[in-house]
Amino acid sequence: MLKMTRGAVALAAASAIVLAGCSSSGSDDEPTTDSTAGGGEPTAEAQAEDITLWLMGTDTPDTLIDYLKTEYADVNGGELTVEQIGWGDAISSLTTALPDSENTPDVTEVGNTQSATFTTVGAFMDITDMYDELGGDSLIQGFVEAGSVGEQRLALPYYFGSRMVWYRKDLYEQGGVEVPTDLAEVTEVNASLMDDGVGGFYVPGQSWRDGISWIFANGGDIATYDGSEWTATLSSPESITGMEQWQELFMETSVAQVTDDDSTAYEAINDGFLPGTPAATTMAPNWAYWSLGDIAENDEGEPVATWNEEKFGAYALPGVDGGVAPVFAGGSNIGISASTQHPEGAKTLMRIIFSEEYQTMLAENGLGPANLDYADTYAEVAAMGDIALTAAENAKLTPAAPGWAAIEEAKIMEQYFAAVAEGGDVADLAVEYDDQINALING
């Protein structure tokens, strides 16, 4: 399935590249960034260097990887090796390899929420001097901050994704409900579908990256920084209100289980995904587009999803008083390892990644480009790009705290959401998990 989906992405990318020829000219407000477009910079020709790039998970499609390899060979003359590290191994692999100059990846992607853990201990090279060249203030600022320590720029944004709500038009129609316009309606609409046995909301119990929107929308947050220390704020009144609203959503509308996580949410509204009551609504990043649709077998007998505009739709999660709720800004950062032995080669690769051409390719593949100058391309070309962009403008990051990666590794947020989904008392649980977060968040 993965293979097929990626195949589909590749196909779409190939056709989108043709489109890109026309649309990329639309975003030339800042011509300065064009100078970064790979290009035969004289410094890079000094000597050919073989370097390694680590990408996390399989989110970067093969066509983009191939592009990087060819382009790097052209500019530098050396060979670029790309390793894909599973997200589950990301932290342990980075922890062991980054300080080890013999085996470090020269350039590595890192989850945006994990950046601070590594930037604060000096794992990334200071590239403040390249910052403007690579896009400067056009880069998505929340991510820039996540990868900076003070004024030092260490890990820059790579791509962003924003979560949106995917729904089944036919089921909404069958249940006689409309797309909700505020957060309370999201619960009402799905509860009504559920009562009629038409469908429900696929709310995985551990999917805090989706559920956190309910806290954000009510004005709450995970933790705040007072200039010297991070303090968890799950037990603030706003956070608790949001969490209770999410608990109600889970209790009344969820067709997912307490143990499900967001990895299963992508395809949830496809036909036949769930036995019994189908899911009419789910939350997933915009690239879930490639996994959703009518299922049919391809020539090799493997199921492939084809998007069906009649049956499937998407909308941005509405806020408490209408408008758009802040969602979790997924995505990642990218930087040069401080222990690299090939700083020039690594910088060349960074220039290629932040070039107009590559940023456009990211956009076409549904990955939000780090450089917002290309956001227009993204909105036009990427599937659901317009909704994704609306959502992204309202997106929030998790705390850029040194201990955040440890919190993710210990799965504290997953446990908090699962405990709430099981029906626990939100106020009590919030205090309990605040303590757990406080124990780790400052590193």
Partner: protein, 280 residues
Amino acid sequence: MTTKRSPLRPLFTVLALVLAVMWVFPVYWMVNSSFQTSATISGLTPTWLPTSGSWTNYRAVFSDSTFSGALGMSLAVTGIALVVCLVFAFLGALAVSRFRFRGRKSFVLAVILVQMLPAEAMFIAQYKMISGLGLLNSIAGVSIIYIAMVVPFTLWMLRGFVAGVPADLEEAAMMDGCTRFGAFMRVTFPLLAPGLVASGVYAYLQVWNEFALASVILTSDQSETLPLWLRNFAQPSSLGMIEWGQVMAGSTLVAIPVIVFFMIVQGRMTSGLVGGAVKG
């Protein structure tokens, strides 16, 4: 013993067959699922027999770019670690069971204690060491650690076997004019064969199964061992669900070498172990 129980024998037989089914069921289910298409596999009603006999899942596994590499890596690492470990452990076992020497007791104690060490906290140091030797992602690097990991248990098992072969036999042969080495090779060694097989099986199993340390020191896709490969293969991708049919085909392929190996050596395995323990 058997004569007295005869009235209950049919009952015991039935019980034995039920238990046999219980133990073999997961294995059967793995093979069965590996032949199902994803449509039948995700259906609500299980399909009990692989009547459709589809090889699609196996084709998918073989077309996975990293599978053959992982198979090669696993075979190489297991082969090297097994041979080296058996030789080292055998020599050590000989020393411990045939000689009294200063430090013998501490050595035996060390061999037992090493097996009680929790491995998980040492991964980072093992990474540093292997990386310092420039052996990250290499067969040699992972083999070094695996040998150290399995030598103690193998030595401990072999110790019992060696002790089980009376030293008198060797001495008798020496009287007949053999050298000590010659006597050993002609008399003791053949008697130890079952013991070597039995110990070899455990060493093989441990190495073939290991994945925690491998995941730390084999960071490249090109140097995965089979358990690592299977674990990654079985993870739901960020874009989809677990393809159970393919995962079961992968599991079957990882299990087959072990099952075959077991079938070949099975007769000697258990009798060997017990011989060692009883006489040790």
